[in-house]
Every structure is written in C-alpha cells, then in structure tokens.
Amino acid sequence: YGDSAPLNEAMAVLQHHDAVSGTSRQHVANDYASQLAAGWGPCEVLLSNALAKLSGSKESFSICRDLNISFCPVSQTSAHFQVIVYNPLGRKVDQMVRLPVSEGLFLVKDPRDKTVPSKVVELPNTGNTELLFPALVPALGFSIYSVTQVSIRRPRAHLRQPRPQKSR
C-alpha cells in the first residue's frame, strides 16, 4: 500500500528554518534526512500504483534517489527499459531527458512508437556516459518512452581534448 501522509508530515517538519538554512546541529540535520527518507518510501509505492493504474500495466517501477550524482542501476544495466516522464505543469513541456547508461547505442521510441533522436554522450574526465533524448509531455500528464540497447560498442561523442591555458 502506498501512502503520502508520512512524506507530508516530514515536509511539514522541514518547514522549520533549521532544515532549510543549515542552522541545525548535525544530529538534527541527520534526523531531518532520516524523516524525509522514511516518508519517501511509501510515497514511491503510491506513485508506482498510480502509474500502473494509469498505464494499464503492472510494472516494476524504479525511482532513482541518486539522480543528482548520475547513477541509476536500471538505465545502466538494462537492455530494455521504459522512461515515464510526468509533467506536473498545466501546459505541455519539452524536456531533454538525461540518463546514465553503461555503453553502446540506444534506440528510443516515443509514445506513438516513432523513433526519436537520441545521443550517447561521453562525459569528460569521468568516463561516464549519458543517454540524451528530447521528450514531449502533455499538460498534467505523462509520456512513456521505450529505450532499447541496440549495440554495445562504445559511443564516440565529439569531444575535444583539454585546452591548455596560458599561465598567469
């Protein structure tokens, strides 16, 4: 069962300025983080249930908590996966989706089963690669894109070598 109440409550606690501005003691900051994490768990289930109902299929949805550091086991290990993009705005938006992938070439199809342009970009210095494709999402709705790995050869984005700078 999904439940958004624990996250609601955690967010209410985090209205306090200590949680926003860094004026809490470290153990209190740790507790804020703990409350948020505990609240997010059942909310993920709620979101997955809603998506399953709306899309008419029961899927094992995966919501990445580490997107800020570009790490995602599903996109980095799966040969096939779906990307559901939900738009909370009351107007349609276009968004460039960026997902960490391991290597290779990918075929991305839009909700009408048409291939959309995509590119695997190798990030300088890190050795990480990311898949990019443009997504169009309707107002207060979602679009599902399917991604299939079609080759495992390493991608080659146009990457220039570091530019030496004049010393000062």
């Binding site: 995966s62 800020n68 009408r112 443009p134 146009h158 530019r163």
Partner: protein, 281 residues
C-alpha cells in the same frame, strides 16, 4: 587559440581563450549581446575583528574582507558538441567545476556547478560564490524574489524604511534568493534562476553573485553551538543556475515560464522491460 563557443538557434555563448571563463552571451533573434564574465570566488569567513567579535557561522554571514578571492584565475575547459547538446566543461580547481550547457531550442544557458568538499586545511572558513560581471549600468539596484512572493527591488547600502548605517559592506547587502535574481539597465536584463534558495547580491554595478556553498570553522554564538563544518572530508554540492538575457521589456515572460518549468520540473520514472507504448488518449 580559437574562441570556444556554444550556439543554438537563439543563443550563443563564448568563452575567453585565455581564462576559459564565460565571456559573452548573445541572443541572436533579439540582436542582444552582453559581455558576461562568470567565475567562482570565496569569502574568507570572519572569526571576529576589532569592530566586533562576531564570527561567520550557521546564522551569520560575515566575511573578513569585502573582496572575495578567486577560486582560480583560469579554468581548464573541454567542449562536447553533439546534435542534442553542447557543453563546455570548466574545471576551476580540485573542488570546483562547472558545465555550461545549451540544448537546441533553449533560450537560456544552463550552468551546472559542482563545489566541494571545501578545503579548510589552511584554517580559513570559506563561503563560495558564483559571480557574474557585466558592464550593465545598474545604479546600485538589483532584484530578488525574497520569500517566494514577489520580486522586490534591492538597493545597495539602502533600506526603504530607515536611514541605514551600513557596517557590513558585503553581508549587509545580501538578500535571500528563493528562485531568481536579476539586474537591468532598463534596456537589457540578466536574470539568474536558482534551483534552491540561496543568498545573493549585487555588490557593484553590473555584478550579480550567489552563494553556492560554505564551510566554517567557528560557531557564530547564535544558538546552534556548532560550527558549520561537515565531518570528515566534507560534502560537495551540485546545483544549477539558469541564465537568461533578454530585453527588459520581454524578460518577465521568459523568467516566469522558465521558473515554473524548473520548480515544477517533469519527474522521470523508469521501468525495466519492453512494455507497451502509452498513447495519451
């Protein structure tokens, strides 16, 4: 060396060949060009001085001197150019880097900065800022959306409801920025949208700065009883600044719509397997 630049149908950003810093932003369809130099600096946190024993801390921002220190005088740059994205990766130091990014069809420049762990081995607390310097004649005025309610005019060394005796030339001019800060000369407007609440100011005409990270060694004595000092090697922070250049007349449309999209951003969920395509109807 050739001038490094990224460009789409609306915007062109060029970078200084010697320093690797952002140099100009050009809005192609509106024929606007602005020299914008952007780089990272840090204020040395005060531990108290002759005027006051007040130290910089969790509650208090109080640099020891008004002039911030550059994180680096140049950045090592790398360019990534594809049909779907153009990026300039700037490495300022071991603990400060940034990606300047432009997608097709985008009317703003995206600056994704990564700062930390802030080194404090020299025993100096550091408060790191990203600063944009332009030749705009802003006459001491800048704008922030403090408290998330409305854009408020801020005037340097001035308060609208009392005669201010400014004793803190930097901190006394810092204001909360919940989603955006901008400067304008009445013709052109440079707006920076933030992805989180930050402190910001314009300490010189044409200049705009946002505090992105801080690490301090002394408690400010305001109740928290701890220095703002992460344990271990410290933490790094990654965030984004969205930069818009427009005419003063058209700017509000652009930053309002973009802020909506940023603060209510599309959410991405993944499901393994092939699945069936979903049709809106």
């Amino acid at each position: 060396s050739p001038i490094l630049s990224i460009k789409n149908e609306y915007l062109q950003a060029t970078f200084h060949p010697d320093t690797g810093f952002l140099r100009t932003i050009e809005v192609l369809d509106r024929k606007l060009t602005l020299a914008v130099s952007q780089a990272f600096f840090w204020y040395n946190a005060s531990t108290g001085d002759k005027q006051s024993d007040q130290a910089s801390g969790a509650y208090i921002f109080r640099p020891s001197q008004a002039k911030p220190i550059p994180v680096s005088h140049w950045a090592q740059t790398q360019l990534v150019k594809t049909a779907l994205v153009q990026e300039v990766h700037q490495n300022f130091s071991a603990w400060c880097s940034q990606v300047v990014r432009l997608y097709p069809g985008q009317r703003h420049l995206e600056l994704e900065w990564t700062v930390g762990p802030i080194p404090v081995g020299d025993k100096w607390g550091k408060e790191v800022i990203s600063r944009f310097d332009t030749p705009l004649k802003t006459l001491g005025v800048f704008y922030t959306d403090s408290n998330g309610r409305e854009i408020l005019e801020r005037r340097r060394d001035y308060r609208p409801s009392w005669d201010l005796n400014q004793t803190e030339p930097v901190a006394g001019n810092y204001y909360p920025v919940n989603s955006r800060i901008y400067i304008t000369d009445g013709k052109m407007q440079l707006t920076v949208l933030t992805d989180r609440s930050q402190g910001g100011s314009s300490l010189r005409d044409g200049s705009l700065e946002l505090m992105v990270h801080r690490r301090l060694l002394k408690d400010d004595g305001r109740g928290v009883g701890e220095a703002l000092l992460e344990s271990g090697s410290g933490v790094w922070v990654r965030g984004r600044h969205l930069v818009l250049l427009d005419t003063a007349h058209e700017a509000a449309v652009g930053h309002r719509l973009l802020a909506e999209k940023e603060l209510l951003a599309p959410q991405v969920v993944l499901a393994p397997g092939r699945g069936s395509s979903y049709h809106h109807k």
